[in-house]
């Protein structure tokens, strides 16, 4: 089934979407969209540094994304600039520094467009192995820590008072995001990664009554976006990464038209 590039792209994309859906729910619940974007932008710096230091690119991207997240946490403690401004600084400067370093790497040819917008049709069997290995690990960590992660999201104070450790939950989520960015970069590119986290989760909200249901629905919608986007890109010969995002957006827009919010989150015992 891995014979042609299109099947490989489908298998890789489906594996990625199954992970970004549930993790994306936390990004939406905790209002971390811009934070995710910042980590994703830093991925290019990760690529550049990995090539410069001749280390594994996936590991390099993970390390740099995690470092940027850590830097943000430290800067937030200073209580000077707003988180918003700090994210803006980290996001664009890490992207810019990455681009500048890439410019110096004259001895290696780097497909810049591939890193920025992804090149899902070029995924290899090894890439698929990384996506599924990493994806299973990420989902396992998410499932095993689900209750404390959710409790910390609802109220860190309550979670801590009742013996959980919300600070640890926060770090786990950051590391999981760094991992997703590292494995997703090749597929959809640093500029589009967060869309796979946010759009399916946002669509799933209207179709779900519990957090668990939202996570599963988001994974399903993500898979649908990948499959629809890839077939669309083959049919109309459009760029594959952006086509997937456009498909996710289309599903989101359709979901807005369906008055599903009336189905959930509403009391059953009175009509008032």
């Amino acid at each position: 089934m891995f014979g042609d590039f299109f099947s490989r792209a489908l298998v890789a994309g489906v594996g990625l979407a199954a992970v970004t859906g549930p993790l994306g729910c936390f990004v939406v619940w905790r209002r971390m969209a811009y934070f995710g974007d910042t980590m994703a932008h830093s991925a290019l710096l990760g690529v550049a540094l990995s090539i410069l230091l001749s280390v594994n690119v996936t590991l390099g991207v993970f390390a740099v994304a995690a470092l940027v997240a850590g830097a943000l946490l430290l800067l937030q403690r200073q209580n000077t600039l707003s988180t918003d401004a700090l994210l803006g600084i980290l996001s664009h400067s890490s992207l810019a520094v990455g681009l500048v370093i890439v410019g110096f790497l004259t001895q290696v040819r780097i497909d810049l467009m591939g890193f920025l917008f992804g090149d899902i049709l070029a995924v290899s069997v090894e890439d698929i192995a990384i996506i599924y290995g990493g994806g299973v690990a990420i989902l396992a960590i998410l499932v095993l820590n689900w209750r404390p992660l959710l409790a910390a999201t609802v109220s860190p104070e309550l979670a801590e008072a009742e013996g959980l450790r919300p600070e640890v939950s926060r770090i786990i989520l950051m590391l999981l995001m760094a991992s997703v960015i590292a494995i997703a970069m090749k597929l959809v590119g640093v500029l589009l990664i967060t869309s796979l986290l946010i759009i399916p989760a946002a669509t799933a909200r209207r179709l779900s009554a519990t957090p668990e249901m939202m996570a599963v629905v988001a994974a399903g919608l993500g898979v649908l976006s990948v499959v629809g986007g890839l077939f669309g890109s083959r049919t109309w010969d459009t760029a594959s990464g952006p086509s997937i995002v456009v498909m996710a957006l289309a599903i989101f827009l359709v979901s807005l038209a369906v008055p599903t919010s009336r189905l959930f989150g509403r009391r059953e015992h009175n009509g008032a």
Binding site: R147, V154, E160, A161, R205, A209, P211, F264, R267, A272
Partner: protein
Amino acid sequence: MNALTPKETLITLAGAGVRSGGRVLVEGVDLAIRRGEIVTLIGPNGSGKSTTAKMVTGVLKPSMGTVNRKAGLTIGYVPQKLSIDWTLPLTVERLMTLTGRHAPEAIMAALDAVGAARLLKAAVQELSGGEFQRVLFARAMIRKPDLLVLDEPVQGVDFSGEVALYQLIRQIRDTTEAGILMISHDLHVVMAETDTVICLNGHVCCRGTPNAVKTSPEYLRLFGDRAGSALALYEHHHDHEHHDDGCVVGTHGEHEHDHHHGHEGHKHAH
């Protein structure tokens, strides 16, 4: 419980205080909470009530003095303010198992005890202030806590809801062995059942039974003039009856409009 055996002490704070960024948030707090006891903290904003409560729950470590918890102390916590974003779909049923697993029967029993069983499948964002507070009580009680910490439990609840919540606290005190630490939203009102009132203003400025604090010169000097009144005790006068559904209905004509507990009204828009 045998009245002669001294009740087990759940937590003791001795000279406890918290310093943060060179500033002392609260210092010299001595307090002990025993089973079946209600301790109420009062004081103006910034007086260290929440800081003290956080030392009790363990969220903050004391930078001065000591905090001694009974080994294996289970704490149930009702936060001051909990706003759950619309993006997070959460039913009452799911909220009940937020920090731990519980059987469906236990969930029903806990909700039933606060008169909120029929809200099981409701989304938390759709509850009224009073309903949400009841559900939070049930959520804290399902853990069978040794110590229940209530941070301004009646804040944002209308008068009839307030009556019902105080009734609920009284019932928890009477039917469980839990100790209760309550932070009062109001400088001038504490529950009459309170065993110890601790009045804070960066330090403990006075303490004692509600009646003792009511007449203490420190209390009057600090807070008495604020609203031109002394400490009022929230007493249970049996001037209303409870209907089967937990609604409180006044029996005195003049209270009737105040005490009508409208469960169906006051929905929060989101």
